[in-house]
Symmetry: C2
Subunit: 655 residues, 2 copies
């Protein structure tokens, strides 16, 4: 028996929560709108489409033509819509309740607006774990698309069929996305595509393509190629002329049984499983893949998505902050708070590969903004609470008050890992550390991927070499340094400072007394060839609209100590928001005032990273490091007293 | 700062549900009892122990000395008890409700009997998936032990520390089991062990051992070595003399923070991840591991546990049958039915490595017995029901009546995949197919593992070569063959038969009419150079205590057809249970009568497999194949009529 060739096309369209409106506008102008226009005039070309929640909401509100034409194509059976987590979360790393919540929100949205409840989903970044089938089945989902790599890992050679898997007896159908088709379409001539399609036809198989819709106009160079030079029209005409049958995924599901049952380990597309590795590990892994024979493909596996939480501690902090909010929100039935929570689960800000991702402050800012809104909508607690929110096996101290929310890590220098400012729904400490990326040391990048965004030769911008210095530790606040007197802010910025104390990342003993968190460490400071016992006593308190950190530094030795003490604070602020003066420093455009006592103008510098995105390399301002420092001598048993106060001035006085 | 060396010992003791009482007796005599006796006289040697539910229940009922001494050692703080799924299931492949149910059952049992609620669990066969932490945390579990391989896959080099992982913000602490310690203890002299312990001490690490308790007396040769030749006493004295500190896992958890956070992909111990592969794949994988440099260890990964459901279709059938029962039982609050269900989830019958596992019929029999009891305790349905219970993407027809339960696969020859006999709680068709195993073609086995059960040179028993023939398809019932007239039962047994029809594993159209399932296929039978259209119409019905399969075979051609038709039935029966006569065949010691009409004595042969266990190779009788066959000629449009009836004779007439 021979089935006719069927070409299954799925396009996945997405813009992250918090992306600039201008990006949405351009994406519709250059890509989503012309794509739908062409397809609409080819009613016999059936396809399957996924639009993430942020795009659907934008389309409904601003892009009437697209919205109506999509409705028409759905109603005439040309288009099958895919569901998914509404705000495009990585399903495996959000709580089960929210998986079901986001999947259900999308299914209801499509049913209400398009009268089409989805049977399949686009799995965000194809991040698979074997426990997903039960969740998806319980959300009423019958199938999803994965990459062919997922199947290679299970020893499946035939990627021109679909399969069934299960978890706890709940089944899910899986379509393997053909990587070669991903590289051919839309970058190659129809003749080349036909050659490959005929190969698939001879194997009696399905031609299965699922890929980003942005490659049809938004990726660099594709607008001209796909529309200006007419690739899309040629391709659609080619399908018609050559009588290549297209249909939706759901139609194939009903027409043919699966080719077999499979069990797939955690995976994503091949590139993602390299991106998640540390640069040195990625190099080893790629080398092993290059050196081994094809039969090793099944067994040679890179990292899996959760490891981004190790590679980028900031991603872990955001994820665990989200979990904290999720537990609170899910104890309520507040649908609006849930929507804010779900917006805060959008995947883009949590990882990095060829897109900017976690390096883009506006995406992280949006995530925290929505999470803080969700949190604020459901409860205000008071008082310090102890819990290991970031899952490092050590307890943090957490305070959520009306103006400020604080997270303190006693085990890590008694530092402030997060300062939330609720009136502006900002995490003020949302700063990304400078860290080595694979592409910092090889340029231009390799060409493992096809044409398009992966083959562009990218040049480092001027001044990049100064950014290839990496932070030794995360950029928290109230990090306690004892420097050599020769240390300067410039040296500190470059990482050439000499740390003489053992306080900055070491455990402090915490004790809560009323509203005050007392942190204490008896450590040592090296001075010349000597090592003196020093006690740092740090109090953290929120009083009304003030956050106050008080220091008492005591020389426990019986001889004098000459000390250069600095308290490091890192703030997520754009340059226009901050004003650093000799007496007063303000943040958030004047809304927040930072008082340093004894009065000092803090040393400061801009925190900048160099990262890649689909268009090239970006130097990104991540915020400011402020470094109030005091040089003093303490005789035996003498104390130095200082404080730093962050005050919210009410809205009337803010700019 | 330097921590003193700590030696953490965990012993895991388990005998499967359904194992022979004699095995339990011998295990206590040779192993569990002498082990506890020795440890009891060394009160300063602290350790952590796991006894699976079947052992705990047996110990409580039959081994008073062990029971009391365990209680004493727990109460004086010498022993920490580990929890786990009560009847030792693989947690990742049972429903979430049952995971929590079995974990809770064990925790309550330990609390009630030992006043010690467990903080850690022994994870059955260390089968890990990254979604486990939430389940375990919700069951109140703080930690478990995994193999060092799990950690290598995450790039963790230091296996002398413990770690923390999380899922959805629920944390779990993980201890890596040191493989070298597994190989040293108890097989090497204390001097060698000391050398390695001192190495660990120099690294400021924990010596972490968790392993089967059966290696202390039950594995071949270990009784003499461990007790007769005094290894255990020497080792315990050595710990005391050398002042090597022992403590429980829970104590370390409280005393030290974890070394870091990790995310581990699905894994088990190294050997398991090879066993799950098909023989040809396992050979490729082992070759790749041998040829690649050490840094490849992180990336070269074998199979994962769920793939046993592909390697052994019988394991999948048992697992999915369990799911069917689980859903029914979990709709009730019947605690006794849950206990039966949990017994039916015991892992041993579902896989195979160096132990007999799925090859042991008495373990599979016990699993089905408990599942059928649980099913019967909660409901009797009637009527045919359509569902894809085995998750192959094609619907089965299921009937559960008072005497018989049936599962029919229309898509696979309209065959009977399961015939349950409820009065005896037996799955009569629980027969294991003959299939190739890695060790069939290499002897003696390699020496990848340490001394003990893995290094024994095993000889194939006489007559083994006749068993190295493998079945082309599963051994279901009512499989419809059209043979060449030259075919004999002997040829069929050897797999040398010539199949001339296209019925045996091909789709039949099902239709339910009242109590009758009608199955129909119009296929073809090759006769000489000719190919004739033939229709097989098969009715399956349960009427009272009778299961009836009626055939109507019609020649749709306009010329005569000379046909040798056989209906293949495979029954799980020991030789004493079956009597095959020219007129009457009985099963289950006379309780069941098999009527064949037109009357024929069926061809028959014993189904035997060759498998390995820790002691050597076993030729195991898995049941009988019965092959009623009729040779007849049909002129055009003529029909042949036959039936097979399996009748339950009431208990009075059974032996």
């Amino acid at each position: 028996m021979s089935d006719p060739l069927v070409f299954l096309l799925a396009v996945h369209n997405h813009q992250p929560v918090g992306n600039f409106v201008s990006v949405f506008e351009q994406a519709f102008e250059d890509c989503y709108r012309p794509f739908l226009r062409e397809l609409r005039t080819h009613p016999n070309v059936k396809f399957t489409a996924h639009y993430s929640g942020p795009l659907l909401e934008y389309m409904r509100d601003k892009e009437g033509e697209c919205w109506e034409s999509l409705k028409e194509m759905v109603s005439r059976g040309q288009v099958e819509l895919l569901g998914g987590g509404f705000y495009e979360p990585i399903l495996t790393v959000i709580p089960e309740e929210d998986r079901l919540g986001q999947l259900g929100m999308m299914s209801r949205f499509l049913e209400e607006n398009f009268q089409a409840r989805p049977r399949g989903i686009w799995l965000t970044e194809r991040v698979w774990e074997p426990s997903l089938p039960r969740t998806l089945a319980q959300a009423g989902i019958e199938y999803t698309l994965l990459d062919e790599e997922h199947f290679h890992y299970a020893g499946i050679g035939d990627i021109h069929s679909y399969y069934v898997t299960e978890d706890q007896g709940y089944s899910l159908k899986l379509f393997p996305i053909d990587k070669k088709l991903r590289y051919l379409i839309p970058f190659h001539a129809t003749a080349d595509i036909e050659t490959y399609l005929r190969e698939i036809e001879e194997k009696n198989g399905l031609a299965i393509l699922g890929d980003d819709g942005e490659k049809f106009g938004l990726w660099p160079g594709t607008k001209t190629w796909v529309y200006g030079e007419g690739w899309l029209v040629r391709f659609l005409d080619f399908l018609k002329e050559k009588k290549i049958r297209t249909c939706t995924y759901a139609e194939i599901l009903d027409a043919r049984p699966p080719a077999g049952r499979v069990y797939l380990p955690p995976a994503s597309y091949e590139e993602m499983m390299e991106w998640v590795l540390e640069p040195r590990d990625a190099a080893v892994f790629k080398d092993l893949k290059a050196k081994n024979p094809p039969e090793a493909r099944r067994y040679l596996r890179g990292g899996f998505f959760r490891e981004f939480f190790l590679k980028y501690p900031e991603s872990n902090l955001l994820n665990k902050r989200m979990v904290l909010v999720s537990r609170q929100v899910n104890r309520t039935a507040d649908e609006e708070a849930k929507r804010e929570l779900y917006k805060g689960q959008c995947n883009d800000a949590t990882w990095h590969g060829v897109f900017g991702g976690i390096y883009f402050p506006h995406l992280r800012e949006a995530a925290y903004e929505h999470l803080l809104k969700a949190e604020r909508m459901t409860a205000i607690e008071s008082g310090w609470r102890k819990m290991d929110y970031d899952q490092d096996g050590r307890d943090e101290e957490i305070l959520r008050d009306s103006t400020f929310g604080l997270i303190v890590k006693p085990a890590f220098g008694g530092s402030l890992v997060e300062i939330d400012h609720y009136p502006s729904f900002r995490n003020l400490t949302d700063v990304l550390s400078r860290r080595k990326e694979s592409y910092h040391s090889r340029q231009p990048q390799g060409t493992e991927q096809g044409k398009s965004i992966h083959e562009l030769v990218k040049e480092f911008p001027a001044g990049s070499e100064r950014l290839f210095r990496y932070d030794r530790r995360p950029r928290f606040c109230a990090l306690d340094h004892f420097f050599s007197p020769e240390t300067s802010v410039e040296k500190f910025e470059r990482g050439d400072d000499e740390e003489r104390g053992d306080f900055v990342d070491r455990p402090y003993d915490p004790e809560v007394q009323g509203t005050i968190l007392r942190l204490r460490r008896e450590g040592r400071v090296r001075i010349g060839g000597d090592s003196l016992p020093i006690r740092v006593y740090k109090e953290i308190e929120v009083r009304g609209r003030d956050l106050i950190v008080r220091y008492r530094i005591k020389n426990l030795a019986d001889r004098p100590a000459d000390l250069l003490f600095a308290s490091e604070w890192n703030f997520y602020q754009i340059p226009e928001e901050i004003a650093i003066g000799p007496v007063e420093t303000t943040l958030c455009g004047g809304r927040l005032r930072l008082e340093i006592f004894p009065t000092k103008k803090p040393g400061s510098f801009s925190l900048r990273t160099l990262s890649q995105s689909e268009e090239g390399y970006d130097i990104i301002h991540q915020g400011f490091c402020l470094l109030p420092a005091w040089h003093f001598t303490l005789s035996g048993e003498e104390e130095f007293v200082a404080h730093i106060r962050l005050s919210d001035r009410d809205a009337a006085t803010s700019s």
